[in-house]
Amino acid sequence: MKLAYRMYAGPAHIGTPRVASSSKNVHAIMHAPLGDDYFNVMRSMPERDRDSTPVTASIADRHVLARGSQDKVVENITRKGREERPDLILLTPTCTSSTLQEDLQNFVRRASVISDSDVILADVNHYRVDELQAADRTLEQVVRYYPNRALGQGTLGRSPANAPTANIIGTSTLGFHNQHDCRELKRLLRDIGIGVNQIVPEGGFVGNPNNLPKAWFNLVPYREVGLSTAVYPDEESGMPYISTTPVGIPDTADCTRQMQGCVGERATVLPSQGINYEPYIDQQTRFVSQAAWFSRSIDCRNLTGKRAVISGDATHAAAMTKILAREMGIRVCCAGTYCGHDAEWFSERVRGFRDEILVTDDHKEVGDTTARAEPSAISGTQTERHVGKRLDIPCGVISSPVHTQNSPLGYRPYLGYEGTNQIADLVYNSFTLGMEDHPLDLPGGHDTEAVTELPPAPPTGKDLIRDPESQLELSKIPKFVRGRIRGKTERFARQNGISDITVGVTYAARDGLAA
């Protein structure tokens, strides 16, 4: 067992309904105790969904614990099939069913004989995968199911379309700004003359699942959900996929060039077509996106060398690290992710762009690292936003887990060229807010807070005493560097065996450490 207060990725049975509720006419039935269907609340509250979430629970109550689910699960599946006529019902195990170890596969087999709907058991084990891994697996499972069946029936449409098209794989419910990203991706594809074949799971692919192989390539914007779905047809039938997230100027260009590669490869059979996206990339970079210009502008120059801490899922944290370091000249003192299963990819991605790397799902560790690093701004999840509040450091939210405020009504993509604008605003606003605070401090007149009460408070040894004069001296230091100076002074005092901190010690520490 381990103690935990707050978690980044939810349990596995949040991942499976994320796939189900993104698709049209797919219903998830959870084998779960009363109250485990809070996924419905997460969808209808933070996402403000207008429709009833297509997720119900087959309740595992005391009777089920005593004698097994018997016909209950089968009954609930067939009933739902009658009531809502979904194309597909996904039976979703929870921690309870993982522990009970009932033969859910058998229930699925029985139910699929009776029901008109297709029935699949989501292959996720609570104790082994989290929300993101579960969503990834479930998506792959469903996408495999239909072509396999179509193959058996000889109805699989294998011939690709005449004009270049792409599948977008992995945009889903409760994904961070996924709706907006999806719109932006469609725009990007349209701009370069690529049609959208299917978007999965958002957009309802079950109705026409055999369509997927018609696309020329698959585009996977987020590593966490969709990667295994794209890897499978690549291995199976050589359908290429692009997993470079088009976020930030260089990566969007990179992603676009890879699309050029995919299209060019196929288009060589049509020699009349010259595929060259370079002019488009150049035009977008210099004039449509403002981010390249922003990084040259004097506003951004003022951010050079400012310190930031980054934390989030692998996709967003890695992208943000590269944007801050490469495009804006900000020093990323720590880049971190809670996607431990993808740690290797993450460290490889952010190599050379950060001082420190932190892979953990313990929010306290992230908080402590942030307090130690004392950055001017944080890019993180809602958890880090609260850390920022406590430490008095501004935070821009870049990744799940999020609150309702991160399901904005306005258009806020993070991907593509419009995404670069949104990110530049987010970053600049975080840092400016920080800077506005500081000029107030510089004259010293506005800061009336007692020095001792100020966060962040690095651990103070009991042996250190500050005389009133040095307290006063400390209060003259601008607030945004005060914590760091205090820490340095105390470290210096300890190293030199000084127990009384006087003004002299403060200066000695500064000079000593500066040298």
């Binding site: 067992m1 103690l3 935990a4 707050r6 809070y38 207008r50 429709d51 979430t53 009531e83 979904p86």
Partner: protein, 465 residues
């Protein structure tokens, strides 16, 4: 009298209980440990449960989770779930961390479905832990296999009732060292105290908790203590000769524990929700102590008088309560008293003994207002309820959060049921708040219909096609 009239007369008289499939949406009982633990300042509840259990409190408690909560999950990993879980060893390893960090006066170990399935023995290990760690450990099995939402609080309070000191007039006699309570000195004699000890139970916010006490005091009934108290060390003594009375409709286990295990006398009374309920409650409690309440009816009418503006807007309106916690009957009874038609009261479970004092006023209110008695549906089926709700088109439907936005999008006003469990709705003084929260959607509708009531895309809802 024609047949139809006869039928409707009959409906006025009887309350029908129905029971459905139990496929309804509610909060998990562990979400409701928040109330007692916030109330009991020196407590710390580790929940022994999986990620599944940890996720909703972090969403339900929202911002509270960030404010250095006295709350933690002891999350079983795969190795903790085989046939012989090393529960004791693991708890022993984690407990010092909890105690070291927080220094609580009591640890409330919350059991979950997982602890039930793997058959951990928290009641068995708790006394050992208690002896070794030196902090009282109370066990509450607030799991979703057995309970719904606010019943979680009930399991905690029932466990607490065992820890109250023994009430005895003779000082220091028969004290159980495991039970806390005031140091062994004679019970404080409150000047003017006329009645045997009366302990109220239910976690009310401190602001509201003083109200029921004050109302009773007006009629010379002294409240000797609350379960839970603000601090664990201040739990009231229980024992023969102590009267107990609940302030909320859901802690029915808590009601039986002092009665059966501590020889207390339980006072069955309506719950102080709405002026009618508050009055009926005092009328029930006072005679137990041989007191005749004076001026109570006048006081009640004064409160009704003050509600006039709201009454105008709720009279003749209708309510459909889907029901996700066992406290729906009392607000419904108050609304019927206001002239609102209540089509259906859904509820996970109605303890007909503990809530015995409610159906009668519910029936009376219906008769007085000439409104048919609502059907009470235990263990409702949300899918079927939604069909009934769409037919009856209530203004507003009281629903959980999962069904609120989808109903609003279909032109049905809603009110979150969770407000009835967290808002201040008790006593004469808060009657206004109940109506305020129910009329919120009505008041918004009063702003006029902009023509946007139906907000659903037809292709997204197969049931509408």
């Amino acid at each position: 009298m024609n047949q139809e009239n006869h039928m409707s007369m009959k409906r006025f008289e009887t309350i029908t209980f129905e029971r459905e499939t139990g496929n309804y949406h509610t909060f998990r009982p562990i979400s409701c440990v928040a109330r007692p633990y916030q109330k009991i300042e020196d407590s710390f509840p580790p929940v022994v449960g999986t990620k599944t259990c940890g996720y909703p409190p972090q969403n339900a408690l929202g911002v509270m989770v960030f404010a250095e909560p006295r709350y933690a999950m002891a999350e079983p990993e795969e190795g903790d779930t085989p046939a012989q879980p090393n529960d004791y060893g693991e708890s022993k390893r984690l407990c010092p961390q909890v105690v070291g960090d927080r220094d609580p006066s009591v640890i409330i170990r919350i059991g979950t479905c997982t602890t039930e399935i793997v058959k951990m023995d928290p009641e068995g290990t708790a006394p050992r832990m208690e002896a070794e760690v030196g902090v009282p450990t109370v066990v509450a099995r607030a799991n979703g296999s057995d309970y719904a939402s606010t019943q979680g609080e009930d399991t905690v309070l029932a466990a607490m009732a065992h820890r109250c000191a023994e009430h005895s007039v003779a000082a220091g006699e028969g004290r159980d060292p495991a039970r806390v309570g005031p140091p062994s000195e004679p019970p404080k004699v409150v000047p003017g105290e006329t009645n045997p000890p009366l302990v109220l139970f239910g976690s009310l916010p401190s602001m509201v908790a003083s109200q029921p006490s004050l109302e009773l005091k007006r009629h010379s009934v002294q409240v000797s203590g609350w379960l839970p108290a603000q601090r664990y060390t201040d739990l009231p003594p229980l024992g023969a000769g102590v009267h107990v009375c609940g302030v909320n409709p859901f802690p029915s286990r808590t009601a039986t524990t002092p009665m059966r295990r501590r020889k207390c006398r339980s006072v069955g009374a309506p719950f102080p929700i709405g002026p009618d309920g508050t009055r009926a409650r005092i009328e029930k409690i006072c005679p137990v102590f041989g007191i005749r309440p004076i001026g109570l009816r006048e006081r009640e009418s004064k409160v009704w008088e003050g509600l006039k503006d709201y009454l105008k807007s709720v009279r003749g309106k209708s309510v459909f309560s889907m029901g996700d916690n066992p406290s729906e009957a009392s607000p419904a009874r108050f609304l019927i008293g206001c002239g609102t038609i209540v089509y259906e009261i859904g509820t996970p479970y109605m303890d007909k003994r503990y809530q015995a004092a409610e159906p009668a006023p519910l029936r009376e209110a219906s008769r007085d207002m000439r409104i048919p008695v609502p059907r009470i549906v235990e263990k409702p089926d949300n899918y079927d309820q939604i069909q009934r709700m769409r037919e009856s088109q209530p203004d507003p439907a009281v629903t959980g959060m999962a069904n609120a936005n989808p109903s609003e999008a279909r032109g049905i006003d809603t009110k979150w049921s969770v407000e009835f469990t967290s808002a201040q709705i008790h006593g004469f003084a808060n009657a206004r708040d109940v109506l305020q929260s129910v009329t919120r959607s009505l008041r918004r509708s009063d702003m006029g219909d902009p023509g946007w009531t139906d907000m659903v895309s037809r292709d997204n809802d197969p049931t509408l096609q």
